[in-house]
Symmetry: C2
């Protein structure tokens, strides 16, 4: 496999060359976004968010770095959204804030979901609804849309024909041969495009480390029904709030066993409203009830369809586990986690499970029963895919390094030469000319953190501060000095938080700080405030490190009277 490590500034874009730059989703699972440029026009595929890990504390969301296109907004011909998951559409509001008029192209459901989101941001987008089989010309790009099957309905792959060559981008996909809605990944279209010639194939790497084939969604229904048949009291099912097919299976099982269903959690209520209205969710007449009605129903006639399957602290399920929700869990209640377990969420999810079990609930999760299947193609399906498309070159996308490399190896095993598998990073610049793609350089491509109302204001250095504060706390030392007399007027006052000692422990060090400061002021009246603060920092820092064996953040403040 070939990668662009060590390359730097890319050359100027040549005519008849299509430049491809991933701005997110490479080396990470989330914030998927790729730009395609030819003849001075830019096409974007997806614009998603990434959820922060524990080393990014306090961050709400992470966006792709839009700097690369910030001065080129006028040249953007459109944003193709392959499907409606947050990691593919979540950053659209932030891009449209920069220029509201950029057209959004996607399937009916995808557009409905992004429009609902944009409404919260008070943005009304320009949209172009497409469906499988459609071809649209967007500036120099001819885009053909292909049905793919995923864990949300109405997902699309996109073939992008340019004068530099043809690119096929799978989006997120799997190849369930018996999907609930009968809409399979269109391998006949993949085959036809392959016959025509796919020069560069961008493929979903998420499950490239998983051997075999992803289980069909159809196997989930009977398992759920089995649990519904045996449950004596309330049933609570938690899943992703966009997993319309999973919710459909819950509705079907509920109808079969004479239970009413109540949607719990804001995003669940909103998404299922949209899905039902557009015909993606078939809601049996009279089956839905609200929380108030739940109180009136016997326990064995109730299903709560809830958010919170990832152990999110503020979601309905975690609050039920804490006894902090209107729905009080009682012995015999059955909780089904019909969802995956995203790495990093294990402790939160297990805390919720332990809490539910302590209250007497039975808890079923995918470790114990087939109540969830992945939305991504495993190694088996990826092999089919490469053998059907037979692309000239492959660029694995959507995944951490380990996923990208695994996906590249699968491509190689189908006969694609090593040098034709492009391993990239976010910001890699790939030029496609006369059907041949090469990594020619890289552009700056950082993390953009959303925190509260700020976008991009937090830096990695702020996060480092937060990590230190979070692990070690801080000590603030305030002293008022009089430079004329060379004496301390007030202080040192010491305030510590998270340092785990009674503040009285600092009495020892106060005289040391006072002495060091007075010596410094008397030695040189010209010392800057910063220099005096450094004296304080050194004095207490050394002391704390030796006495408490810790390294809290030290905030010395020297005021003058």
């Amino acid at each position: 496999m070939s990668s662009g490590t060590g390359l730097s500034t890319p050359p100027a874009l040549q005519p008849e060359t299509c430049r491809i730059v991933p701005l997110g989703g490479i080396g990470e699972v989330g914030r998927n976004m790729t730009t395609f440029e030819i003849d001075g026009k830019i096409l974007i595929v997806d614009c998603g968010v990434l959820f922060p890990e524990e080393h990014q504390p306090g961050v709400d969301l992470i966006l792709p770095d839009l700097d690369y296109i910030r001065d080129r907004l006028e040249d953007i011909v459109g944003i193709v959204l392959t499907h409606g998951h947050e990691d593919h559409i979540g950053a659209v509001p932030y891009l449209l804030r920069l220029k509201p008029g950029i057209p959004l192209i996607g399937s009916t459901l995808t557009l409905a979901l992004i429009e609902a989101k944009l409404e919260e941001h008070r943005i009304r987008p320009l949209t172009l609804a497409v469906k499988e089989g459609d071809t649209e010309r967007l500036g120099p790009f001819e885009c053909e849309f292909v049905a793919v099957n995923h864990s949300i309905p109405d997902a699309l792959a996109v073939a992008i024909r340019t004068e530099a060559g043809t690119i096929l981008h799978t989006g997120d996909f799997k190849m369930d041969q018996l999907p609930l809605d009968g809409r399979i990944t269109d391998l006949r279209a993949f085959a036809r495009l392959g016959e025509e010639g796919v020069d560069l194939f961008l493929t979903d790497s998420t499950n490239a480390e998983v051997p075999g084939f992803t289980t069909t969604e159809k196997e989930i229904g009977p398992v759920l029904e089995g649990f519904f048949a045996r449950a004596q009291r309330r049933i609570i099912v938690a899943s992703f709030s966009s997993h319309i097919h999973r919710v459909q299976q819950v509705l079907d099982a509920a109808r079969m066993h004479g239970r009413k269903v109540c949607f719990v959690g804001r995003s669940m209520v909103r998404n299922m409203g949209i899905a039902a209205q557009l015909g993606y969710l078939d809601v049996p007449e009279g089956i839905l009830v609200d929380l108030k009605q739940v109180d009136q129903l016997p326990d064995d006639q109730v299903v709560l369809m809830s958010t919170g399957s990832q152990g999110e602290r503020m979601a309905a399920l975690a609050r039920m586990a804490n006894g902090d929700h209107r729905i009080q869990i009682a012995p015999g209640d059955l909780v089904v986690l019909a969802s995956s377990l995203i790495p990093g969420n294990e402790n939160s999810v297990f805390r919720v499970i332990n809490g539910l079990m302590k209250l007497g609930a039975d808890v079923v999760h995918k470790g114990m029963a087939k109540v969830h299947v992945s939305g991504h193609a495993s190694q088996g399906e990826l092999l089919y895919c490469y053998n059907i498309v037979r692309p000239v070159q492959v660029m694995p996308v959507h995944g951490e390094t380990r996923h990208l490399i695994a996906n590249g190896r699968i491509a190689e095993s189908t006969g694609i030469p090593t040098e034709n598998v492009l391993l990239t990073e976010n910001g890699s610049v790939v030029d496609l000319t006369a059907g041949r793609a090469r990594v020619v350089g890289e552009v700056e491509c950082g993390y953009v953190y959303v925190d509260g109302s700020s976008v991009g204001a937090i830096t990695d250095s702020d996060l480092k501060d937060r990590r230190i504060l979070g692990e070690e706390g801080f000590i603030s030392v305030i002293t008022v000095v009089n430079r004329q007399t060379g004496t301390i007027v007030s202080g040192p006052d010491i305030h510590a938080r998270g340092v785990a000692e009674d503040d009285s422990v600092f009495e020892d060090v106060k005289p040391k700080i006072a002495r060091a400061l007075e010596e410094a002021v008397q030695a040189n009246a010209e010392h800057t405030t910063h220099q005096l603060q450094q004296v304080v920092r050194r004095t207490i820092g050394t002391w704390v490190n030796r006495k408490l064996r810790r390294r809290p953040m030290i905030v010395p403040v020297v005021l003058e009277a």
Copy 2:
């Protein structure tokens, strides 16, 4: 199952009653410790540490709460250590600091490992080495030791005979029928004890949620050898530094394929030194080399046996992944993670794997090949165990709530009545009288945090402060007021860290704070400093929340001039 929820202060301990109090290991995986008391004497089984989760930031270790026995140290007849893992022996130094003379009872290897640890704390313990089949009288307790098989050699279960009844405590165990050292869990002894009558059976719950049987250790060797046979360059194997049998398999495979082995990481070097010296590790003549010698050897003659399998930031493997270790990973190196993945460590481990792969290494882990098996009995083995012992009552230990409940259900499925399965919590007080055990109350039992040089000084409130600081940062506001004139002499000075804004953003709010303070001072000269600080807190707190949509910690300091 019966649990003691709602119970409070236990009654006075009656004669001929054995009181059992778990001080750790119930509702959590780690800090295992149980006390047994009869006739005024106390026996302790295990005394381990718990490793902190992400909601306990900056904490080094968590100890069992020793308050329950703090005033009774003279009455302790001994500490039985079932095996040498940290979660069973790690807190011994903290208990021996309170009273160094308490005897430690355990197998040769277990004692060697705790003695090495105690040496670092400069404590020389009293020890009593025992082996399977031995019976020792410790005050009113007659202890019989039974061989059990686990992921460290020389582990023991302990049967405790008292005049109140007989208790059997498995320690951590599995039932590998083909262990490397041929030392199987002694089910004949379990059967004999069962015939004699086990009134209360304390059983390891760690794998009670895992269906089927734990794979035998013997299956790992050939898989490792296969990788060794195919590897072209260096091989790096990472595992727990106490997993002597895994290291034995690596040594064997290395010898077979003409490679030298270098131990990397302080605990690996130390533990393997002890194991080799005591004959638990069979080190082929001349196979060991040190890091300096590794540099001289061809790549295909090298195995590095390393720590860091859990992605620990400072361990050898993570530093190799960062290019920050003397061993520079190069394309074609093979890294084998021969270890489990402890929940909560996923992101760290995957970060290490991604880093290694980016440098060109091939990485194999237990998700892809059988390079590790668990050290705990799964559901299949637990069934055998209950059917062989046929205890009167069962008290699941070692596990989170979900594990304890699963273990209890396994016991019930073998015919043990529901009311004879005791679900407890740390601090539950279980009285065994005439062979019948009941939960009779509970004692205070908190978390004791070790942080730097402090033990127990950090409180949950300090951790809450750290979580807020870590997620939101802090804003400190310093103002010097003159109460006589009712004016601000200096400030407000604002210092923010981790709040992610240029400090200039606070210029807006400074006049508001000044005005609010002056009004407060002028309105009532009697306001305490605390009241004035509350005025500052409210003013800036409201502003930050509305303007930045955040809730950092606010530290208002009002000084008087």
